[in-house]
């Protein structure tokens, strides 16, 4: 077994996902199968290999820093237009701090 049901519940907690019991059962089975399959990578000796975090290629000009020039922002109203709940120019969420 690569992963147990309690571990799946723990990962769901890390991922902020509310899952039903039947989803947990199904995911435990799927993840166990997929993670077992992923173990194939351990066959490869990669001690001397640098990890590749980004696609790198030879290109004439590779500088990616631009001048820091201000441009018109999206604007408060546009930014909030898709908010489920907004007010006074802010996103509104359930109360976080109790008084």
């Amino acid at each position: 077994m690569k992963i147990t049901e309690p571990e799946v519940r723990y990962v769901a907690d890390l991922a902020n996902l509310k899952l039903t019991d039947s989803e947990i059962t199904r995911l435990s089975r799927d993840m166990d199968e997929i993670l077992t399959y992923m173990d194939a990578l351990s066959e490869l000796d990669t001690d001397a290999v640098e990890p590749m975090a980004q696609v790198l290629y030879q290109s004439g000009q590779t500088a990616t820093l631009r001048e820091d020039e201000p441009v018109p922002p999206l604007g408060n109203e546009n930014a909030l237009a898709n908010a489920p709940l907004a007010g006074a120019g802010y996103y509104k969420v359930p109360k976080v701090i109790e008084r």
């Binding site: 992963i3 799946v8 990962v11 769901a12 890390l14 991922a15 902020n16 996902l17 509310k18 899952l19 039903t20 989803e23 199904r26 995911l27 799927d30 993840m31 199968e33 997929i34 993670l35 399959y37 992923m38 173990d39 194939a40 990578l41 351990s42 066959e43 490869l44 990669t46 290999v49 640098e50 990890p51 590749m52 975090a53 980004q54 696609v55 290629y57 030879q58 290109s59 004439g60 000009q61 590779t62 500088a63 990616t64 631009r66 999206l74 546009n78 930014a79 237009a81 898709n82 908010a83 489920p84 709940l85 996103y91 969420v93 359930p94 109360k95 976080v96």
Partner: protein, 486 residues
């Protein structure tokens, strides 16, 4: 008296240009007729999620005005275009195939969309896809599966299934898709059209809703190699809004489609031909015979790390996805399930909003990044990705292009594989390697199986060498390689 085509099945970009120049139809007439046809045909396949007639007609009107004023209306003037619904369009709903974004109206346009409209393209609507582009069959859309126009009981492939289906169905001349692990090439092969994934960084990702940022590409669909290349050259090139977009100059691909491939060195990776389903394999072998006939020097090569590509890809892609999808938390993007606490609200919103495949990938990605597993999975996969990329670097020292299958099998029946996620992942074996290495790759039609299902041949080239890829694909098309595909 104008004669406006309704179905776009036989219309290419050049024919749209000729029709406009000859005053055979106006851009507005073409847009109206295309919209009417596409809306009437859409229930057969569910390829489009929604249409944007106002935007389409405004763009078409602009083209007509430019033509009337004697100005150059642009290389894509009046061309009816479909855009995958993971690419944002200002003021036009963009759902990513997800319930979570059912009501999301983007406040800006993707760079690709801006550039194509500047070139004169007319966006008819947004196409269906697997939720957040995660899937290989288009069955993971919250708004229903897409049916393959070639065989309506079968999938169109995924995740850009709606875009591939629209071009195959004649409800768009060309279409935009996105490719993270094969999501342009595999549906192109299933629907019998051309699908192109350019070099990573060639097209700005600004406004492409992120799935796995180090693997995501915007790609193109067309009926011909020339159409897919025209669409790419109109939107490629550096964009300051995407720091990973490349400065490399964009050649005029279409001026290099001269059919000259004599002496071109083509590699066949032996690892890609082991265990290939018989009929798809037969079509590819016939295609290779044609490549030899037109003068290509074909030789066997080896990409030895290929068998590790699926686990490598599904670790990296899910890790990046779990991070990118964290933003859908009920605060900013339209959907929220109310709960008393903030974390309760996050959890309920995400639990109800995401479909099964997104949840599976968020869970896998969170697991491989979690404490104690990071080195064994994520770091290991990044190292294996370097090995896969190095395989290609070595191969391209010997050959100019690589030819391979796209998918182990042609379009399968809707529902046939949905209960076996691992089997579905394994079917991506031939397409994920190109994305991991970030090299340009494409699918061209190369005939049909005895059941009438299209088969695609894949062509891969060096970083930024789309020109060689297009030249080979175009020569293959001109030599009759697409024959029997439609």
């Amino acid at each position: 008296m104008s004669s406006v085509p309704s179905s776009l099945s036989f219309l290419t970009i050049d024919q749209v240009r000729a029709g406009l120049a000859a005053r055979q139809f106006s851009a507005v007439e073409l847009a109206q007729s295309a919209l009417q046809f596409a809306q009437a045909e859409n229930p057969k396949t569910n390829a489009y999620l929604h249409f944007c007639p106002e935007r389409a007609l405004a763009a078409a009107e602009h083209v007509d005005k430019r033509i009337a004023a004697g100005d150059n209306p642009g290389p894509l003037a009046g061309v009816p275009l479909a855009v995958k619904d993971v690419i944002v369009t200002k003021g036009v709903r963009t759902t990513c195939g997800s319930r979570l974004l059912e009501r999301y109206i983007p406040p800006y346009d993707a760079t690709a969309v801006v550039r194509l409209e500047q070139a004169g393209a007319v966006i008819l609507g947004k196409t269906n896809c697997d939720e957040f582009a995660m899937g290989s069959s288009n069955e993971n859309s919250a708004f229903g599966a897409v049916r393959n126009p070639v065989a309506l009981d079968r999938v169109p492939g995924g995740s850009s299934g709606g875009s591939a289906a629209a071009v195959a169905q004649g409800t768009a001349v060309v279409a935009l898709g996105s490719d993270t692990g094969g999501s342009v090439r595999q549906p192109a092969s299933f629907c019998g059209v051309v699908g192109v994934t350019p070099t990573y960084g060639r097209v700005s990702r600004y406004g492409l809703v992120a799935f796995a940022s180090s693997l995501d590409h915007i790609g193109t669909f067309g009926k011909t190699v020339r159409d897919a290349a025209l669409l790419l050259e109109a939107m490629a090139g550096r964009d300051d809004c995407d720091a990973t977009s490349a400065f490399a100059p964009v050649p005029k691909y279409t001026s290099q489609l001269d059919g000259q491939v004599a002496g071109l060195k083509v590699g066949l990776p032996r690892e890609y031909f082991e265990g290939l389903a018989s009929e798809s394999g037969d079509r590819i072998q016939q295609a290779i015979a044609l490549l030899k006939k037109i003068g290509c020097e074909v030789r066997e090569i080896s990409l030895p790390t290929t068998k590790y590509a699926v686990p490598c890809y599904y670790i990296i892609a899910t890790a990046e996805a779990s991070s990118n999808l964290a933003r859908y938390d009920g605060v900013r993007y339209t959907s929220r399930v109310n709960e008393d606490t903030l974390s309760g609200m996050y959890r309920a919103t995400r639990g109800e909003g995401f479909g099964a495949e997104c949840k599976r990938r968020i869970m896998l990605g969170t697991y491989v990044l979690s404490h104690g597993y990071y080195d064994a999975y994520y770091l290991k996969a990044q190292k294996v990705r370097a090995l896969i990329t190095d395989d290609f670097r070595k191969a391209f020292a010997e050959v100019d292009a690589i030819v391979a299958p796209v998918s182990p099998f042609p379009a399968f029946k809707i529902g046939e594989k949905i209960d076996d996620p691992l089997e579905m992942y394994l079917s991506d074996i031939y397409t994920i390697t190109g994305d991991l290495a970030g090299i340009p790759c494409m699918s061209v039609p190369c005939g049909k199986t005895s059941q009438g299902l299209p088969v695609g041949m894949q062509i891969l080239a060096k970083h930024f060498d789309e020109s060689t890829m297009f030249r080979l694909a175009d020569a293959f098309e001109k030599a009759g390689g697409f024959a029997g595909s439609h």
